[in-house]
C-alpha cells in the first residue's frame, strides 16, 4: 500500500501540512507576525484565484483543488517578514494571474508561480522590501498583531536597518551567519515526509544541496563554510518545497537530477558574484526555463528498457523442427 494521497486536494493538503512544522518554528522565533503574514498571503491568493476563475468563466468549484492554499502559504514563507501588504497582494497577482493563469491554468506554467511573484516584487520594488530581520530580533516577538498589521499596512517596510539579518526570505537575506538548527529542521522534516508520501521527488533537494555544496568548494570555500551555506537563507525550504514543484520540474529522474544540479550551482554562483544577496529565486527560475531541454536530454540519455537488449542474446534462432 502506498501512503500517498491519491487526489488533487489530498496532495495540496499534504503539502500544507508539511509546511506547518517549519512555519511553527519560524513563528516561535519571530512571533505572531508570521501567522499574520501567512493569513494575508493566503487570503490574497484565494482572492486572485477566484478573480482569475471568474475572468476565465470557469466554475468556482475548481477552488476545491486547494492549489491557491499552497501557493499562498509558500509565498508567505518566501517573502521577507513585514513586507508591506500591497506588495504581498502584488506578489500573489504575479504568482496566480501572470504565472499560472497567464500560461493557461494549473499545470501549464513553465515558471514556478511563487518565484514569479517573488521575483516580480523583488525586481521592481527592491528598495521597499524589508531586509531580513536579525535572527536575534526579540522585538518582533513582542509585537502584537495590531502593531504588526499597522507596520504591514505602510507603503514601505519599516524595519530599522541595524536589525536586519538572515531570515528565510529568498532574495534579501544577508548571509553572514549560518542559521541555527531550529530554523530549518522543520522544513527538512516536512520535506522528507512529503518525499515518503511520494508527493515530491527526493532527488531534487538532494541533488540541489549537493550541487550547491560542490560549487561552493569549487569556488574556493572550505567544506565547512560550504556546508554552512546550505543552511543559510531559505536553502532547505526552497530545495524541498519550491524546486520540487512537479509542474515546473522535469518528467524523468535524469532530467530532475540535471535540473537540480543546475539550480544548485546557479544559487551558489549568484551568492558569490551576483547583485542580490541570495540567488535562490533566480537560480530556480532559470532552471525552470531549461526544463524542456533537460527532458529532451534525459530522453536521449535514457532509452526505455525494451530498447536495450536484455537477455535476448540467450536465444539463438534454429531451424524449425518438423
Amino acid at each position: 500500500m502506498t501512503l500517498s494521497p491519491k487526489t488533487l486536494p489530498g496532495i495540496m493538503c499534504a503539502v500544507t501540512l508539511a509546511l506547518l512544522p517549519g512555519s511553527w518554528q519560524y513563528a516561535q522565533h519571530y512571533g505572531d507576525l508570521v501567522w499574520l503574514q501567512t493569513g494575508l498571503c493566503i487570503s490574497f491568493a484565494l482572492l486572485m484565484e477566484s478573480l482569475c476563475l471568474h475572468l476565465k468563466r470557469r466554475s468556482f468549484s475548481e477552488l476545491g483543488n486547494l492549489s491557491w492554499l499552497v501557493c499562498g502559504l509558500l509565498l508567505a514563507r518566501a517573502l521577507p517578514l513585514l513586507t508591506p501588504a500591497w506588495l504581498l497582494a502584488l506578489a500573489s497577482m504575479g504568482a496566480i494571474m501572470i504565472a499560472k493563469y497567464g500560461c493557461g491554468g494549473l499545470g501549464k506554467n513553465r515558471l514556478n508561480p511563487v518565484l514569479v511573484g517573488l521575483g516580480l516584487v523583488s525586481l521592481c520594488f527592491y528598495q521597499l522590501l524589508p531586509a531580513g530581520i536579525a535572527a536575534a530580533a526579540d522585538w518582533t516577538r513582542s509585537l502584537s498583531i495590531e502593531q504588526a498589521l499597522s507596520l504591514q499596512l505602510r507603503f514601505s517596510a519599516a524595519v530599522p536597518a541595524d536589525m536586519a539579518s538572515g531570515a528565510t526570505s529568498l532574495v534579501t537575506d544577508q548571509l553572514s551567519q549560518p542559521m541555527a538548527m531550529n530554523q530549518w529542521s522543520g522544513y527538512l522534516f516536512g520535506g522528507l515526509a512529503l518525499a515518503l508520501l511520494n508527493v515530491i521527488r527526493l532527488e531534487i533537494p538532494l541533488m540541489m544541496l549537493t550541487s550547491t555544496l560542490l560549487t561552493g568548494i569549487a569556488l574556493g570555500l572550505s567544506p565547512q563554510e560550504s556546508l554552512h551555506n546550505l543552511t543559510m537563507g531559505g536553502m532547505i525550504f526552497a530545495a524541498f518545497f519550491i524546486a520540487t514543484d512537479p509542474v515546473t520540474s522535469p518528467d524523468s529522474r535524469i532530467g530532475r537530477l540535471l535540473f537540480a544540479a543546475t539550480a544548485g550551482a546557479l544559487t551558489e554562483l549568484v551568492r558569490m558574484y551576483g547583485l542580490y544577496a541570495d540567488g535562490l529565486c533566480f537560480a530556480i527560475l532559470a532552471a525552470n526555463l531549461l526544463v524542456p531541454q533537460f527532458d529532451q536530454l534525459a530522453r536521449r540519455l535514457n532509452q526505455p528498457w525494451y530498447r536495450r537488449a536484455g537477455n535476448n542474446h540467450h536465444f539463438k534462432p534454429r531451424r524449425q523442427p518438423g
Binding site: L196, P246, V247, Y306
Partner: protein, 461 residues
Amino acid sequence: MLTVNSHSATHKKRHNLLPDWINPIHKLNRIWQGGVKLKDWKSLSNQTDIEKFKQPDAILRIPLGDGRKMASPCVTIGQYVLKGEVIGRSNQTPWVHASTSGHVIAIEQTPLADRPGKAEAVVLAADGLDLPCLVNAGQSHHQPPGNLMELASLCQQMGLTGLGGAGFPVGLKLAGAGGIDTLLINGAECEPYLTCDDRLMRERAEAIVHAGWYLQNLLQLERVCIGIEPNKPAAIQALRQAIRFLDAPLEVRKLPHRYPAGGQPLLIKSLSGRHQAPGTLPHEIGVMVMNVASLYSLGQAVFHGLPLTSRIVTLSGAMEHPCNVEVPIGTPVSDLLNYARPRLETTGIQVGGPMMGRDLASPDAVITKTSGALIARSAKHLPPKPEAQDCIRCNRCVDTCPMSLRPLTLNEACQTEDRQALQQEQLSACIECGACSEVCPSHIPLRDNFRNAKPLLAGGH
C-alpha cells in the same frame, strides 16, 4: 531433449529488502519499474469451485468470430446439431462449434459482450440434452499430433483462441513458433476481481502441466515456465504439486505483485529477462506466451478431441452469488446475471477485468471466447471516476507506466492529434494497461485517450 538451463544465472531470486512504503528506495530493487498495487477483491469469487452453468431451455447465439474476421456458417436453419459439431468454417480463423445440442433457428447479427459492434451468430435453441458429438472435424484424434503444423491446424479446427483477452488464434501463434526455445505460461491474472484462471489452476493443475509438457516435447523447448502472481498461493501450490507428481520439467515462478504483471512484455521480462520491443512478436526473441486457460483448452483438444465450446467466467462485484461458472459460448449475458443476481445497488456491468475491460453495451450481448468476467458495479465495487481535472504534472503516471512512457506528454499529443508527437512519444509501445489512469490524481482518462488515438497512428502512411 535439451535440459540445460542457460538462464538460471539471470533468475537470481530478488528479495525485497525494504518495506513497501519506503517508496523511492524500494523501487531500485525491481525487475520492471512502475505498475500499481491494486486492492484485488479476489476472495469474493475464488472461494468456491467452478460451477457448471446449465440452462436446459437456453437460446444460445454463438458468434462466428470476433467481429473482424469471421468464419462462414456451415449449417442450415432447422438443422439439428450436437455439442461440439462444427457450425462455422474458415481457412484463416478458428472454426466455430456448437456449444450444446439443439436446433439451429436463425443466423443473425448479435452484440458481443466484450467487443463493440455486432457479429454474425448462429442461434441455437438448446434441447437440454447436451448430447456430445464424438467425432469432430471429420477425423478422430486418438493420437496427439506429432508435429507443429498438424498441431496448428488441429488448433484451428478445434476453434482455439487465446482466452486471456486479446483472442489471438492459437493455431496462428503456434504456426509462427517453430524456432522458439521458451514457453511462458501466463497465470498472472493480475487484474482485480478476476479469479477464473486462479480456480482453473487450482482445480485442473494436472491437465495444464500435461499440456505444457506436451508442447515442450513437441517444440523441443529448453524451458517452460508458469508465471503466477503471489496472491494466488493455492494455485502455485497446486501446480507445483502437479509438476512433482507428474515429474514434469516445468517450473513455476512468482511474478512481481503489481499490476500489470501479466502484460506480455513484462511477463517476458520477468520470466526470461528478454526484452520484447514494441511492434515485434515474442517469437522473434524465442518466446511464446500462452494463457493458462488457452493451454488447458489446447490440452483438451489434443488429448480428448474436445473443441472449445465453453469458457470459465468470473461473476463478481456487487452480486448475491459471486462465483466462477463454466459457460457455453454464446450464452446471453442476461442469463448469467439471472444466475448470479446483481444486488439492488448495482449501477452497471463491467465486462472483463476492471482495468482492461469495458462497459456492457447491451444486455442482449453474448459471452464470447474472450469474455472473462462480468462485474457488477456499485458504489463499493468499481465506483464511477470523478470528473477529470487539469493535469498537475505530478509525474505519477510517468512513474507508474511499466513501458517507460510519459503519459502526460502523450496525452497532450493525443489532444492535439499531432501524429508526429504521438510517434515521438512512442504511443505504439503503450500496452493499454490503464495503470496510469488509475494513479492520476486528476482522474484524467489517459488510457482511454491513448486507445482512441491508436487508429490515428495507423492512419496515413
